[in-house]
C-alpha cells in the first residue's frame, strides 16, 4: 500500500497517528486530557458502530425474513426487544424470559458438546501409548499421562492434600506451573506483536519505513 496523496487520506492517516499517540501519552508520559479525550472518543465510536451493526443485522436476520413470510420470527423479535425492559426497574422481570432461553440454549449446547472433545478425547489421548517406539516418545507419554493425572488430582480433589495425596498433588502443581509458564510466554508474544504493529505504524506515518 503506497503512502496516500489525496488530502483527506493524508489527514486521515495523521489523525490515526495522533489518536495512537494520544492513547500512548498515558503510559509514556502521564494521565492527561489528551488520553481521556482519546479514550472517550473510542468509547463513543464503539457504541455507535455497535448500535448500527446491531440494527443492520436485526434487519437482515429477523425483520426482512419476517416480512418475506417467516411470521414465526415475531416471537423471538418480541422477546429480543423484551430484553430492553432490563432498563426499567419495574418491568425488569420481563427480560428474564429471553435470558432464560439464551441461558438454556447456552448450557444445552455447551453441555452436550463439551464431553467428547474436552473430556473423553483428552482422556483417551492421555492414556494412548505412542505408535513410534523411540525412548523420547515413551518418556513424553509417561510425562503427559502422569502429569495429567497428578494435575487433575491437584485441581479437582477438594479435601486436604496430605498423607498419600501430598506428593502427587505437589507434582501436579509443579506441572501446572510449567503449563502456565508456557502460557505466559505465549501471552508475551501476543502482547508484543500488537505493540510491534503500532511501532511499525508510528514509523510508517513518519515515512521512516514504507507504508
Amino acid at each position: 500500500m503506497a503512502y496516500p496523496t489525496a488530502l483527506l487520506d493524508v489527514i486521515g492517516l495523521w489523525t490515526a497517528w495522533l489518536m495512537m499517540m494520544l492513547s500512548y501519552s498515558y503510559p509514556l508520559w502521564k494521565e492527561n486530557h489528551g488520553f481521556r479525550f482519546a479514550e472517550f472518543t473510542f468509547v463513543s465510536t464503539m457504541l455507535a458502530i455497535n448500535l448500527i451493526v446491531a440494527i443492520s443485522n436485526v434487519m437482515r436476520v429477523a425483520i426482512t425474513p419476517m416480512t418475506k413470510g417467516e411470521w414465526s420470527y415475531i416471537i423471538p423479535i418480541v422477546l429480543g426487544f423484551a430484553m430492553y425492559t432490563m432498563l426499567f426497574s419495574r418491568y425488569r422481570w420481563i427480560s428474564r424470559y429471553p435470558v432464560a432461553i439464551l441461558v438454556g440454549i447456552g448450557f444445552g449446547l455447551g453441555m452436550r458438546g463439551v464431553l467428547i472433545p474436552s473430556v473423553l478425547t483428552q482422556v483417551i489421548a492421555t492414556i494412548t501409548p505412542p505408535k513410534v517406539g523411540d525412548p523420547m516418545s515413551w518418556l513424553n507419554f509417561a510425562y503427559i499421562a502422569i502429569g495429567t493425572i497428578c494435575s487433575v488430582m491437584y485441581f479437582l480433589l477438594t479435601y486436604e492434600h496430605k498423607g498419600v495425596l501430598r506428593y502427587p498433588t505437589r507434582l501436579g502443581r509443579w506441572i501446572i506451573m510449567i503449563g502456565l509458564g508456557a502460557y505466559f510466554g505465549n501471552t508475551i508474544l501476543f502482547r508484543f506483536s500488537m505493540l510491534a504493529g503500532r511501532a511499525q505504524f508510528f514509523l510508517q506515518v513518519l515515512k521512516i519505513i514504507p507504508l
Binding site: T64, V114, L189, S193, L195
Partner: protein, 278 residues
C-alpha cells in the same frame, strides 16, 4: 542507620515510563534495520498447511474471521497466507466474521491477496458478513446457513449466488478455518466437529496456542498456527513472505528485552534475599 542503595536496588525503583520508552523504541529499531533471522516451522503449522494442500478444486471452505482490528498483527498474516493457499488449490471460500469491524478485516484481506483481482465473487468466494449469537448461531449455521445468513453482506440472496446453490449445511463444507481470539473455535469444535465430523483448524492468537494444544495433540484440530509466529511460518511454507515475517524481527528484540528484564528482576531479588531482605 540507612542502608546504602546498590545499583540493583536503584534499578528496582526505576520509573516505569523509562521501561515503556525503552520497549517502544526497541520495537521500532528492527523495522528500520531488519535482522532477517529465519523462522523454523513448527509441527502444528506444518499439519495445518498439509491439510490445506489436500483441498481439491471446487471444495467449499469456511474461514471464520473471529478477530477484530486490534488483533490484525496476530491473526491477519496467517489468514491471508491460508487464503492465498486455498485459492491456489482452487477452493471456494466462504468468509464470515463475528466482530463488528469485520468489514474492515475483509477489506484488508482483499487488499493483501492478489488472487481476488482475478477471481469472481459468487463463483470462487463469498463474503457473508457479520454474525452474532455465540454458540447457538454456530449450531444453527451447521444445520442451515441460510437461516443465519439469508443474504450475503451486500444483501444478495444466497440462492442467487452460484457457489452457494448446493451449500447449506455442515456436510457441504470441506473444513472450517477459525481465525480467532477467543471461544469461537471451541464452538465450531462442539457444534461442527463433534456432531458432523467437519475438520476444524485454528489460526489463533498466541495464547490460544497453549489453550488449544491439547485439542491439537488429541487430533480434534487438524492443525493450528500460533500468533504472529504462526503467520510467519505459514508465509514461509507458501513461499510468500509478508507482514508476519517483518514483525518477527521486532519480536526478536522485544523478547530478548523481556528476558533481560526478568533476569534483572531476579538478580535484584536474589541480592535482596542474600542481604536478608524480602
Amino acid at each position: 542507620m540507612t542502608k546504602q542503595e546498590t545499583i540493583l536496588d536503584k534499578m528496582q525503583k526505576i520509573d516505569r515510563r523509562i521501561l515503556y520508552w525503552v520497549l517502544f523504541i526497541g520495537l521500532m529499531i528492527p523495522f528500520v534495520s531488519p535482522l532477517g533471522l529465519p523462522v523454523a516451522v513448527t509441527p502444528s503449522t506444518v499439519d495445518l498447511y498439509k491439510e490445506l494442500t489436500k483441498v481439491k478444486t471446487g471444495e467449499v471452505i469456511i474461514i471464520n474471521l473471529a478477530f477484530g482490528v486490534s488483533a490484525w498483527s496476530e491473526c491477519l498474516p496467517a489468514t491471508v497466507a491460508s487464503t492465498k493457499l486455498l485459492f491456489k488449490q482452487g477452493a471456494k471460500i466462504i468468509f464470515l466474521g463475528v466482530h463488528y469491524d469485520v468489514d474492515l478485516t475483509w477489506a484488508k484481506i482483499k487488499d493483501q491477496v492478489p488472487a481476488f483481482k482475478t477471481l469472481t465473487y459468487g463463483k470462487n468466494y463469498v463474503y457473508l458478513g457479520f454474525y452474532t449469537g455465540g454458540e447457538a448461531t454456530v449450531a444453527r449455521l451447521a444445520t442451515s446457513i441460510r437461516t443465519v445468513f439469508p443474504t450475503d453482506a451486500d444483501k444478495k440472496s444466497l440462492d442467487e449466488i452460484e457457489m452457494m446453490k448446493n451449500v447449506n449445511v455442515a456436510k457441504d463444507i470441506k473444513l472450517v478455518l477459525s481465525s480467532d481470539t477467543g471461544d469461537w473455535c471451541d464452538y465450531y469444535i462442539r457444534q461442527w466437529r463433534v456432531p458432523y465430523g467437519t475438520p476444524v483448524g485454528e489460526i489463533g492468537i498466541a495464547m490460544l496456542g497453549s489453550s488449544y494444544m491439547p485439542h491439537y495433540q488429541a487430533g480434534i484440530l487438524f492443525g493450528m498456527t500460533v500468533g504472529v509466529r504462526g503467520g510467519a511460518e505459514l508465509e514461509k511454507l507458501i513461499g510468500e513472505l509478508g507482514e508476519a515475517t517483518v514483525t518477527m524481527d521486532s519480536i526478536n528484540i522485544s523478547h530478548v528485552m523481556a528476558i533481560v528484564a526478568i533476569g534483572l528482576a531476579n538478580l535484584g531479588y536474589a541480592a535482596t534475599v542474600k542481604r536478608g531482605g524480602k
